[in-house]
């Protein structure tokens, strides 16, 4: 492989991480920090999901009192804050911490101790927020904590203070982790990996990290104001401070939606390209549209404040509707990648393909409410709840699972069971749509959010019951996922370095990768595009066609599938892959 491989220009240091639990908890290996972050976020996902199920149980029938009205608001506050600050944002950032150095051929992440500090701040934030929730009189002023409701005058006691502290710690942790990921991409790419040769996933992480660095500090400012306000209410008098808080909060609050979206677009892009057997279509257009998309999403925060009457509604309506243009380009890239490909319907591919129409529902309803005239009507109704659950759950969570099933073999070295995985996908798809479609109709019928219960004559009973049944199916699907991980961990079907015949650099090294990602046994291959392994296979195929003998050292393309992987992944195919019928697989 000497002519195709470029050895890493540094000798890995001899010092390794400690073994055992302390080796994990005090690690500076970005892969371990990434796995810890994702693992912690998934555990908290279950915690927040149980709260959602409890609320749906309450709303399944009218006039139920499983939770008191105040308890319901506390559950809702914790569910919202927990899902955003403790679950989906860390999943998005954690994926970057794990994958970005691998995908750009770097041996480690920049400033690994800062990354570890970010993880521990995140853990401390989770403890703080849950402690605040369990405290009598826990935070109940929603995940945005609007003032003056969240001040000590109206929310006395430690619950709201712990919420403020926990949210601050979480945001600080995410800033640290994203900054190190960003710096890794900007400064530590392997030779040959130019910006325009980074995989699509890295580009999604790049814009995500830029948004975190630019949009999260205003949240810190907002929470600092709230903290001081709680200490001394006389410091902030006058209505203007409520508006300042709202603006600072939403300057974070809308970009964070895209922080929780872009990385999963990257997961979907990598999965689609691999399982369609071709390069990602429209790479340059997609990267530029990602930059434009991220820019636009920084400039739309005011649409959360349309009804306040103190915002520039025309501007924010314009920028919000404009977001459909870069989103359309990305969708064009997805569909172009699928078009004419030779599809393999793995679990990851199914999640990726389901992401496309489901996120479209979330996106299109977002364009509806970007119109102030419509927003005035549906604001604070279940229509909005349906909209953001289609983006965050039916979109982002499906994108995450596309990535989870795709990279699980890389991170662990073992395959997940595909049949159980497909059962997980089917249940989650049925559950998500059964839960969230009724929200739109309920919202249209005027059902307000934040309602602990509703009267029998309101006409919302049937749809609420359907939605609650759907939530139960979602819960069941997560049990299937846990069972799958358990069964697969026992079966230990070896993955090999590249079980999916994917194209990016992480698949050129072993599964799981060595401490410094690449070494003499697993060197960084030569990078000539954003799909370096596909380049090598194409070159090999060309030589074979021309009848040129392979050099013995060149023959094995990086990451040949392991025998065990075929059994788990489906029927065997040739490796390297044949070109798609439409052409040699070059970008069109």
């Amino acid at each position: 492989m000497t002519s195709e491989a470029r050895l890493v220009p540094y000798a890995p240091p001899a010092e390794e991480d400690r073994e055992g639990l302390s080796g994990w908890l005090l690690t500076t290996d970005h892969k371990r920090i990434g796995i810890l972050t994702i693992g912690t976020a998934l555990v908290l996902f279950l915690f927040n999901g149980v709260m959602a199920l409890t609320m749906r149980a309450q709303l399944a029938q009218p006039d139920q009192h499983i939770l008191s009205p105040q308890g319901y608001l506390q559950f809702m506050t914790m569910h919202g804050t927990g899902m955003i600050a403790l679950t989906i944002t860390p999943l998005a950032v954690g994926l970057g911490v794990y994958l970005v150095p691998l995908q750009i051929g770097a041996p480690r992440i920049a400033a690994p101790r800062a990354t570890l500090l970010g993880y521990w701040l995140y853990v401390c934030s989770a403890i703080t927020l849950i402690w605040g929730f369990l405290t009598p009189g826990g935070a109940s002023s929603s995940w945005w904590g609007y003032t003056p409701l969240s001040t000590s005058t109206y929310s006395p006691g430690p619950g709201q203070s712990l919420w403020t502290a926990g949210f601050f710690l979480s945001a600080t942790g995410m800033i640290l982790m994203s900054t190190t990921t960003l710096w890794t991409m900007l400064r530590m790419r392997a030779p040959g990996v130019s910006m325009m040769r980074m995989p699509v996933f890295c580009w999604t992480q790049l814009v995500t990290a830029l948004m975190v660095v630019a949009a999260f500090p205003p949240l810190l400012a907002a929470l600092a104001i709230l903290a001081l306000w709680r200490l001394d209410p006389s410091l902030f008098t006058g209505h203007i401070w409520n508006v300042v808080y709202e603006n600072l909060f939403w300057f974070y609050g809308h970009p964070v939606v895209y922080v929780m979206f872009f990385p999963f677009v990257g997961c979907v892009a990598e999965s689609l390209a691999t399982f369609a057997g071709r390069r990602f279509f429209g790479y340059k257009g997609t990267t530029i549209s990602l930059l434009a998309f991220a820019t636009g999403s920084m400039a739309v925060w005011g649409h959360h404040m349309f009804v306040t009457g103190v915002q520039v509604n025309d501007y924010f309506s314009l920028t919000s509707i404009m977001l459909s243009v870069p989103a359309g380009i990305e969708y064009f890239g997805f569909l172009g990648t699928l078009w004419g490909g030779r599809h393999r319907y793995t679990t990851s591919m199914l999640f990726a393909m389901t992401f496309i129409p489901q996120f479209l529902v979330g996106g299109l309803t977002g364009i509806l409410v970007a119109n102030p005239a419509i927003d005035y009507q549906v604001n604070n109704t279940y229509f909005i709840v349906g909209h953001f659950h289609y983006t965050l759950f039916a979109g982002s969570v499906f994108g995450f699972f596309a990535g989870f099933y795709f990279w699980f073999p890389k991170a662990t070295g073992i395959m997940l069971n595909e049949r159980i995985g497909k059962l997980h996908w089917a249940l989650l798809t049925i559950g998500a749509n059964t839960t969230f479609i009724p929200f739109f109709i309920l919202g249209y019928d005027g059902m307000p959010r934040w309602m602990a219960t509703y009267p029998a004559g309101a006409g919302w009973t049937t749809l609420s019951l359907i939605s609650s049944i759907g939530a139960g199916i979602i819960g069941l699907s997560f049990m299937v996922l846990i069972y799958n991980v358990y069964v697969s961990a026992r079966a230990k079907v070896p993955a090999g370095p590249n079980p999916w015949r994917a194209y990016t650099l992480e698949w050129a090294t072993s599964s799981p990768p060595p401490r410094y990602n690449f070494n003499l046994a697993n060197p960084v291959p030569r990078v000539r595009s954003y799909a370096p392994l596909l380049d090598i296979w194409e070159q090999q195929r060309e030589r074979r066609r021309e009848g040129q003998p392979w050099a013995a050292s060149e023959a094995p393309a990086p990451g040949a599938p392991a025998p065990g992987a075929q059994a788990a992944a489906g029927p065997p195919r040739q490796s390297p892959p044949d070109p798609p019928p439409s052409g040699p697989g070059k970008e069109r």
Binding site: L121, T128, L162, S194, M195, L206, A214, F251
Partner: protein, 122 residues
């Protein structure tokens, strides 16, 4: 130099900053033009744009100082990081439980510092 190589790390960040700057100026235009809102909203956005340009400038400076990335340094004493996180959390607990809690953070920070400098003494 082709487009691929002109699209450097600093350029990408600067382009993103410039795109945001355009939207900031547009927001200012809307506010000044009497469409509502207040200039402090533009100030928040402007602050974020400054952060982005700062990142671009740091990339340029880092590249000038170290044109080639200079290999691995092993991160030592990660336990100090854990203590820092705990200390920082204790500081914030003061908001909920009163001023005595942040005082506990003091020894934690001192322990973190000790752990940080221990290798150089040893």
């Amino acid at each position: 130099m082709d487009v691929e190589h002109r699209f450097t790390a600093a350029t990408v960040v600067a382009i993103w900053g410039a795109m945001n700057l355009v939207l900031t100026l547009l927001l200012i235009g809307f506010i000044v033009g009497g469409f509502g809102g207040h200039l402090f909203t533009a100030a928040i956005y402007g602050g974020a744009v400054i952060i982005v340009f700062t990142v671009a400038a740091l990339v340029v400076l880092a590249r000038r100082r170290h044109p080639r990335w200079r290999g691995l340094r092993v991160a030592r004493r990660p336990a100090a990081v854990l203590l820092l996180a705990v200390g920082f959390t204790l500081l914030w607990f003061g908001l909920a439980f009163g001023g005595w809690v942040p005082m506990i953070a003091g020894p934690v920070f001192i322990a973190a510092l000790g752990l940080e400098f221990y290798p150089s003494r040893g």
